[in-house]
């Protein structure tokens, strides 16, 4: 049984030795060519772009939600305003005087005063 070395180590001490310097350098056996590098960079850019687009789309979707809610608020405010006008018309003096309730009212026969 024997062990085969899968990595090569070369000592640099022989070349430029000095104190506290690594004397062993790691060199990968897998070599990536220029095409691979280009593809990897393109992939990274694509992933980053997708992340950006996802976030931007999400933010824009909130805009539509906001717009929808704003429209609802405006619609409800308009309805509230219409109801306030209708309420004011129904409680106007002339409307009250002409109401069926008013027509059945009678003048008080006497008045009691609490204080002057």
């Amino acid at each position: 049984m024997y062990y085969q070395r899968t990595q090569n180590f070369s000592s640099r001490r022989q070349q430029n030795w000095s104190r506290n310097q690594n004397t062993v350098a790691f060199v990968s056996a897998i070599k990536l060519g220029p095409v691979t590098h280009t593809v990897l960079v393109a992939l990274m850019i694509t992933v980053l772009g997708l992340i950006y687009l996802t976030q931007a789309t999400r933010a824009t979707s909130y805009d539509y939600e906001t717009q929808k809610i704003d429209s609802q608020i405006a619609e409800l405010n308009t309805q509230k305003s219409d109801l306030q006008i209708e309420n004011a018309r129904l409680t106007a003096l002339q409307a009250v005087k002409n109401s069926s309730v008013a027509s059945t009212m009678v003048a008080p026969t006497s008045t009691n005063y609490v204080a002057q």
């Binding site: 308009t78 305003s81 219409d82």
Partner: protein, 579 residues
């Protein structure tokens, strides 16, 4: 292996072409993106960034119902329905739909409007409500559009019309509060600047977004009480019908604060239909804008001046001969026969001109209306009672009137003898009512106001602070004149008032100047009075009736209107009678 390109090889030429092309792109991109950067960013913003104005809402106007604000003027969104005749294809369906839903707001000649193919914009209906507009939209008619506008609506109809004024179709405030307080009622429009999508939905992307919300106009609360205003208008209308007068005005003031509780003018109009008014005089608020010679009402002020200066009292006497000579003029009484030594109370009861000319004389040397006497009268009338000048009441169209100064040639003794009984000066009703209020409240002059407070954005009513007063006359003098007017009223009209209350007043019948001379066939009837308890006056009411070629009198024509309002008012404020 040698990979170098051969000199002049095709590959080298291709490389040169590629590099050359790239160089052109780089130069062009440099020009577009660097040198022309600002220009193209501007172009992009023009299409991507939208600036939307968010309209502010005009402030509402409220009256009071007791202490609760009730709306008199509100805003409503209405729609103008228009057609593009070039696009319209279903004429019959459009005409039927518009007539069925818009009703009276639809134009009469719809087919003729739709036939105008040379036009791209024809109005088919105006002032269509939101509900009606929604129903028309649901019909999905091609070539039909809607334009939203905001208009003022008046739930109480014509109530206090001249006090309110109106906003015309161009959005310009006219007359009344609308005009006078236009700046407070008008808000500030908001601004929304944002990148939008094709549907104009604002997006948060971009660095130049602005979202400035609109600031709505102030909601103003008037001191006008709608119940009092309504009754005053009704009493005035009844009075005009009874007397045959064609014009009438009335004002009610709270003498303890200067707040105007009612201000009415007839003929009146409905502000919602201001465009249908035939005579623009109906827009004027005569109470503040129509100066006139007030006549005998002013005798109360002359008497107050004399008492305050200590030259007369109610029980002091003078010799009444029914006429009095001032320089080259002879002044006579309207009522003759009360001759002899009489009191000034008696002179007030019978409204004798000679009595008040005598007061003016006693302000001087006792025999003539000297410059000193005229200076005193002017000081009281102009500086203390604020006649002949703007009161500052918050409705448009107020006029000053005229009180001639003794420093001028016209301010002579004859002029001031006339002023002592209410002629020779022009004043407005609001001036007289405010001056008389100072007699009924112990001598304090309050600037008349029609404002009570505001309603904030949360709907809460915030009342104004009570305004400060100035001293017009002493309390003692004021109380004496108040008592004198109480006696004067009760001398002839004691039975008309509700028993147990303290009511006083003074009649006035004014001559009208036409073409520089006093008219012989036209007089103005007025009544100026107050009501309350012996200790406190609760209201001051002034009524005026007039008409072309009509001789109207204070006692006969204006006083019953005062009495009607006064008796109703005593019930309305639930004032306990004495005894």
């Amino acid at each position: 292996m040698n990979l170098e390109l051969q000199k002049g090889s095709r590959s080298k030429i291709l490389a040169a072409i590629v590099f050359g092309t790239m160089a052109i792109f780089v130069v062009r991109l440099f020009y577009l993106q660097i040198l022309q950067h600002d220009y193209y960013v501007g172009l992009a913003k023009e299409t991507q960034v939208k600036r939307l104005t968010i309209p502010s809402k005009r402030g509402l106007i409220y009256a009071l119902d007791g202490q609760t604000p009730v709306p008199l003027v509100m805003n409503q969104e209405v729609y103008t329905v228009f057609a593009d005749p070039l696009i319209v294809v279903e004429d019959d369906k459009i005409i039927n739909t518009i007539k069925r839903i818009a009703g009276g707001n639809a134009r009469d000649n719809l087919q003729a409007l739709l036939d105008k193919k040379d036009s791209r914009y024809q109005i088919l209906a105006t002032r269509v409500t939101r509900l009606q507009a929604d129903k028309i939209k649901a019909e999905d008619l091609s070539g039909i559009g809607f334009q939203e506008i905001s208009e003022r609506v008046y739930p109480e109809g014509s109530l206090a019309a001249q006090t309110l004024g109106f906003v015309n179709f161009e959005g310009i405030a006219s007359y009344g509060i609308e005009s006078k307080l236009d700046k407070r009622l008008t808000g500030t429009d908001g601004l929304l600047q944002s990148v939008t999508d094709v549907s104009d939905v604002p997006l948060t992307i971009g660095n130049d977004n602005i979202n400035r919300p609109p600031v709505n106009g102030e909601n103003i609360v008037l001191s006008i009480d709608r119940n009092i205003q309504s009754h005053v208008e009704q009493a005035l209308a009844d009075g005009l019908k009874r007397t045959g007068a064609t014009r009438g005005s009335a004002i009610m003031v709270d003498p303890q604060s200067g707040k105007i509780l009612a201000m009415a003018n007839l003929p009146t109009y409905n502000p919602a239909k201001f465009n249908e008014v035939k005579d623009a005089a109906a827009f004027n608020n005569g109470v503040v804008s129509a100066p006139y010679e007030p006549g005998s009402d002013v005798k109360t002020l002359t008497m107050a001046t004399g008492i305050d200066k200590g030259v007369v009292t109610a029980d002091a006497t003078y010799n009444n001969t029914d006429y009095i000579q001032i320089d080259d003029r002879t002044i006579t009484n309207a009522t003759l026969g009360q001759t002899g030594i009489i009191t000034f109370q008696h002179a007030l009861n019978w409204s004798l001109n000679t009595g008040f000319v005598t007061v003016a004389e006693r302000l001087g040397d006792g025999k003539s209306i000297t410059r000193g006497a005229r200076d005193i009268m002017y000081d009281y009338f102009y500086n203390k009672f604020h006649l002949g000048q703007l009161t500052g009441v918050e409705v448009s169209g107020e006029t000053t009137g005229t009180v001639i100064s003794p420093a001028t040639e016209e301010g002579n003794a004859v002029r001031y003898s006339n002023m002592a009984f209410g002629q020779g000066l022009d004043v407005t009703m609001v001036q007289v009512a405010a001056a008389f209020s100072s007699i009924t409240n112990g001598g304090k002059y309050y600037k008349p106001t029609v404002l009570a407070g505001v309603v904030d954005k949360d709907g809460a009513y915030i009342a104004n602070k009570t305004s400060t007063s100035s001293v017009a006359i002493s309390k003692s003098a004021a109380d004496q004149v108040r008592e004198m007017t109480h006696v004067a009223r009760n001398t002839f009209f004691s039975s008309v008032d509700k028993p147990g209350y303290y009511i006083g007043g003074k009649t006035g019948t004014s001559q009208v100047i036409k073409d520089g001379n006093y008219s012989t066939d036209e007089t103005i009837g007025t009544y100026l009075g107050y009501g309350g308890t012996e200790n406190v006056s609760k209201y001051v009411i002034m009524v005026q009736v007039s008409g072309d070629h009509k001789t109207l009198q204070g006692a006969r024509d204006a006083l019953p209107i005062f009495t009607d309002i006064s008796n109703w008012m005593l019930e309305y404020i639930k004032l306990q009678p004495k005894g």
